[in-house]
Symmetry: C2
Subunit: 336 residues, 2 copies
Amino acid sequence: MFAFQDFIKSARDGTLAVAAVLLFVASAYAQSDPLPSWNDTASKAAIVSFVEKVTGQGSPDFIPEPERVAVFDNDGTLWVEHPIYVQLAFALDRVKVLAPQHPEWKETQPFKAALEGDMKALAASGEKGLVELIMTTHAGMTSSDFQKIVTDWLASARDPKFKRPYTELVYQPMVELLAYFRANGFKTFIVSGGGIEFMRPWAEKVYGVPPEQVIGSSIKTEFRMQDDTPTLYRLPEVNFIDDKAGKPVGINQQIGRRPIAAFGNSDGDLEMLQWTTMAGAPARLGVLIHHTDAEHEYAYDRDTEVGRLDKALDAAAIAGWTVVDMKADWKHVFKD
Amino acid sequence: MFAFQDFIKSARDGTLAVAAVLLFVASAYAQSDPLPSWNDTASKAAIVSFVEKVTGQGSPDFIPEPERVAVFDNDGTLWVEHPIYVQLAFALDRVKVLAPQHPEWKETQPFKAALEGDMKALAASGEKGLVELIMTTHAGMTSSDFQKIVTDWLASARDPKFKRPYTELVYQPMVELLAYFRANGFKTFIVSGGGIEFMRPWAEKVYGVPPEQVIGSSIKTEFRMQDDTPTLYRLPEVNFIDDKAGKPVGINQQIGRRPIAAFGNSDGDLEMLQWTTMAGAPARLGVLIHHTDAEHEYAYDRDTEVGRLDKALDAAAIAGWTVVDMKADWKHVFKD
């Protein structure tokens, strides 16, 4: 008798065969141009060589599909983070929207600084001030209401320098890279210090990364029944900070496998790259995006407060990570 | 010029066409027998009818593949939970293994009770005692060491009643259901009150659910460099309890989408079923597995301490959830 299990197995084998053909075609085509926005430099060669090594049938470094996990930082790795994180721009705009209900903010920090656009006073309010700003603007509503607030804001907000929606300020070479990895059987995850519910409403559309593959910082939520409708209510309390040593923890919590490729751009990504590449296996990829293109984006590394790249840059030389020189390695930064 | 994006698109369209054919074949075959271990009762009909409704092209309740998320409790829904949770049996065995290094345990609760197999004294030690038992046996090692301990234990441990490895005490009708949902384009997730790192080492092999689709309770972990090797160290501190009102929170944290189908068996699953089915949309499925087969497994509901089904059983009648009668609806409980 033809059992259901057998059917499932044949269906799976069939799918695998088709996948193999597609991969072959993909691989053949890849030889002409898998990453059109990348110049033919050592960085591109290192990335492509890694992918071919772990996907090539018979390659000594072959890694089966389910274990092909690639993790990508977001701010400064997939989209612009200067002069301030997009999520901070969102928080500052929210303060302005909410201000009429809070006349006291005109005289209270950090809200006064936010309303006046006084970044120096805002910085002086320190981490305590920043947390207060985030909690006031990110908590006190349901998750689905917050999702709508983020979506509406992104539709109208514009970056002050580039005069474009923030979701257009994603790096085209990295969007190609995400697609290239997926075409080679990888699951691509975002692992960001930014808020998980700030990214999920748009990450699928912009990066092709579904909500369940977005990892980030979070505040606590609480299940509440409101008039027979179940909701998740966002509380003004930190749940998890997905940055620095928190990134491997977040990866383990949400993925439960060690990635084989990691992309970052700052010291906040150091531990994620260590966790990914220093496991003893040879075929691992660590990549740092180095902001070197002041003409088309920004140039910064060791001396910036936002996205500082210092310890991780030193570590890259020792660990053999690929450092992408945005100016030299990319043909263009954004999609035209 | 044939752009890379076009290739990706054709590849995707090709895959979709193949998937459509496979789904057609699947659907044709499904009409003969998608779930061979299920009797042809109302429960099976309700489940199959839901799947056909949300997957049928042109169906008014059609739901696109990325939104087809189904969540399954583990203990008592996918495998045996009586007379004690498997993870508790693991903890008790670990106490015995570690006892020689802790002579004081012979006189200290809850360890004395654990060593003597005195379940009454263990219960008397309350939640505090249980947490102490879990922390002593689940923390103080790296995640990968813990994974090995779990794997080794499962290879040798036997259920005292059935004399079989615990991983053979999974419900065959539910294993078929997991495969049936996946064959219909669903992503299947486990959402358990049990430990996430206790389930991940075997869930892929036994259920076909990869680590990134396992959600559960967790203790805190810390990133540590040990002799230039990055590790995650398990700390004796609760991180998250994925039970009752925690289940919708865990689902939102790790999936970021609301499921459209949920399977549970106890009051610990009540909020997960509410969150899944009470969102206003018509095509949602809530299922409770009711343990009614004392001959082949166990029979229990409102009066048990382990897997109590009381409030959720009342809620099922009001919310229209399907209550699976294990004795009447299943041909057999385990794979022979």
